[in-house]
Symmetry: C2
Amino acid sequence: MPRVSQDHLDARRRQILDGARVCFARYGYEGATVRRLEEATGLSRGAIFHHFRDKESLFLALAEDDAVRMAQVVADQGLVQVMRDLLTEGSAHPADWLGTRLELSRRLRTDPEFRARWAERSDQLTRATRERLLRQHEAGKLRDDVDVDVLTAFLELVLEGLVSHLAMGLPADHLTPVLDLVEETVRVHHRNPAGAARP
Amino acid sequence: MPRVSQDHLDARRRQILDGARVCFARYGYEGATVRRLEEATGLSRGAIFHHFRDKESLFLALAEDDAVRMAQVVADQGLVQVMRDLLTEGSAHPADWLGTRLELSRRLRTDPEFRARWAERSDQLTRATRERLLRQHEAGKLRDDVDVDVLTAFLELVLEGLVSHLAMGLPADHLTPVLDLVEETVRVHHRNPAGAARP
């Protein structure tokens, strides 16, 4: 039997994750049966579960994979850009992310055991957000009267709201200026309102 | 047979809503069986469904009742106070609100027909938030460089994030300064950072 190269294994793993992402987003966690995972990935159950122990491990790997990709966008462009992507149809991955994230938040809500498994790997996004804010702080672009941890938690809370909002199928056309406001809130301010304190 | 007074009808309706709120929060919509609703309200199914056509109508009435109560707090104290209440254990109604709101957002997500029924009555909170912001604007307490509708949508988005965050059982100890930041964001600013624009 030929030895399977690492490249081949990686490609196979990627193929499974990409198919599974579509499948979970479309049918939800429970609805993503092994049969449907086979169809979505184009692989047999044997091949799928050679790479992932079980469906939950596959879903966790997918959520982690998405978190790493989101963290990469955060590192490059900031969490507000991740949110803008969620509002923009036709951009690279928003629908994917949203599907996985929705299932993730539902399972976190309803399954304490899953919550414990996820807790160990859920901090990529927080770390990426925090690190980017620290870099922006050093570059003098960030407001310095509020702790970076508070700004990080603020951005994450708005992201959670946006995911929930989109999940409920509520209209989102009006949210672009809201994200502008959110972005402005973490930055050094350049407005000088009537009530500004005197030196 | 004695005529049933309006007061009596109102009290009965209130009794049903209060019991049902606890029941839905505890068991979720599907888990809130008629039997459990009877136990939670202390009334027979006959009495319950004399007042409400069916379980969905009861849940909608409850969600609307909570929205009216939240709107009242918003009118008096603002949406940020509603959010602070959600963080404070032992305050008046937060656990109640949260339970109903969680079920509401889950059902909005999964049931388009329900979404349509709710859409007709879901704007109390938006209206109350908007009206309070307009009053604050007139009183000169609100920033005036951002449209009131944007500020309203901003506050609602943060509320959605907070509800989702609490629903996932994530730690919330660090969120008080985040709500301070949110509150400050809608207000007239009195800070005068280094980069402030010159007149």
